[in-house]
Symmetry: C2
Subunit: 275 residues, 2 copies
DNA sequence: GAGTGGTCTAGACCACGCT
DNA sequence: GCGTGGTCTAGACCACTCG
């Protein structure tokens, strides 16, 4: 067989580093150096155990490590595969009509062609294929979470209009989002009848509340189990969480939106203008 | 004993959901509902095994799940604890006149005061407590990685000046960064002698290459093992990866910087101005 | 020394995808 | 049916922290 040529034969059980980590190290570098290319099948747990002379559980631990690093996918009944890179979509959050025009950006492979983001993208006909559908999951008045209330300059527990929705592309949920709008503004704008997020911008404008300043906060974390299910996330894939605070011309914050999406699939793009 | 009052007594081994996930579910909701507060000690693996009538390995699997979700920390010899939230710093990347700030800004509508970022920081006295030290780890001419070359509009494999450094705060490495500068520009600006990232901006300005446009791309992923070590990351903590493309007034990209930091500790703040 | 998590073994049965 | 990963058991020894 001599398969040992690919994955070096020996692990040192007396070394500082635990055996399963040593095996993971070897597999990892084999992946990174291209010995196993994207989509390729790795040795089975049984094979690894035999090759390194360890119990199956130990070989499995190595595999689990790589899964949690997002490097491989395990499929029951089939085996473990080197994870193939997901097509990445770059989102350029825009205000109402942001700069960064059709700017053929020097960004190498990105041509996702447009910037119709799951949240707050420009309105108006998005390119054919990038149509996303929005499904409202909740629409109600409720008391604002503490952090949201603070951002809106409201007392803790104040009522806000909460609109929650999911944005899907081809039947796959891509973004889970919620918008929290000041009650007074929401009522005036008739937002109670507006379902998806993007549509709300039109309603706000129509009611005279033009948003002229947006502060966006980007963070990342591991998904909750709910998020992992809804967004169909593999193990070892974090989420991006985008929190927006929308302000009107008088610099008053009137709305906070929070959206969550796969960090494997989305990146955020910002242009920092000259000061 | 009746400890079963806190963690419900029974798990159903015939249910669809595996036992270790059921245990994890119970612990997770106990944590989220505050039964176990931040920093608090969870039941030991042995206790969990006894309480649910399962093998230790099964109880341990539940614990491992929560660790990978970033909810708890396990300490050998002590036990598992609910992870305490890290103080979060919000970075406001800015054009030139700004840099590293740590977020003294109280989350609320972020003030427009000063701004600092881990990359491209303002020089001159930064706020007392926020001093970061920069240690150059590499400084050399090398051929650009494919993606970087593309971003700079250079042919694949073209030479660039690579400056790599780590930014530390109180002896803890907080950011790992690299800057790739076009060779011609770097030479003209004398960058070969400049060590940390922030300092390079001054050199560029001094040599007449004023950066007027910055495109910043924010992504997140699980850390490599190297990154996890250097940044001292707990399991279940992703990293934010910030890629910057710096352009001069004529819109030519002259430099790409990439920085990596704990997503648990840092968030990015952007203001989307009115156009 | 007692208790904890970290590692490892050598089995077992199951659910799943394939042929 | 066969091989895969997913789960689980019942042990074992180790490294670590604490009193």
């Amino acid at each position: 067989m001599q398969e040992g040529c690919l994955l070096a034969r020996v692990v040192d059980s007396r070394a500082d580093r635990p055996v399963h980590k040593q095996i993971a190290d070897r597999l990892r570098s084999a992946i990174k150096s291209g010995v196993f290319g994207p989509g390729e099948l790795l040795p089975s747990e049984h094979e690894l155990a035999a090759k390194y002379g360890v119990a199956r559980g130990t070989a499995r631990q190595a595999i689990v490590l790589l899964r949690n690093e997002g490097l491989i996918d395990a499929v029951q009944g089939l085996g473990s595969f080197v994870r193939e890179p997901e097509p990445v979509q770059r989102l350029r959050p825009g205000g109402l009509s942001h700069g960064l025009e059709t700017g053929r950006d020097p960004h190498d492979p990105p041509p996702d062609g447009d910037r119709h983001g799951p949240v707050g993208g420009r309105l108006g006909a998005p390119p054919e294929e990038l149509m996303m559908s929005f499904a409202t999951t909740q629409l109600e008045k409720a008391s604002a979470p503490a952090d949201v209330a603070a951002l809106l300059g409201l007392p803790a527990g104040a009522d806000v209009l909460v609109r929650s929705w999911e944005a899907s592309y081809k039947d796959n949920v891509r973004t889970i989002a919620s918008a929290y709008t000041r009650s007074d503004i929401a009522t005036a704008a008739g937002l109670i009848d507006v379902e998806s997020g993007p549509a709300a911008y039109l309603a706000l404008i129509a009611s005279g509340h033009r948003i002229t300043r947006i502060i966006e906060e980007v963070s990342a974390r591991m998904p909750t189990t709910t998020e992992a299910q809804r967004l169909d996330l593999a193990p070892g894939v974090p989420v991006l969480s985008i929190q927006r605070v929308n302000h009107t011309a008088d610099r008053r914050p009137i709305e906070v939106t929070v959206s969550v999406m796969s960090a494997e699939r989305y990146r955020m793009l910002y242009e920092l203008g000259d000061d």
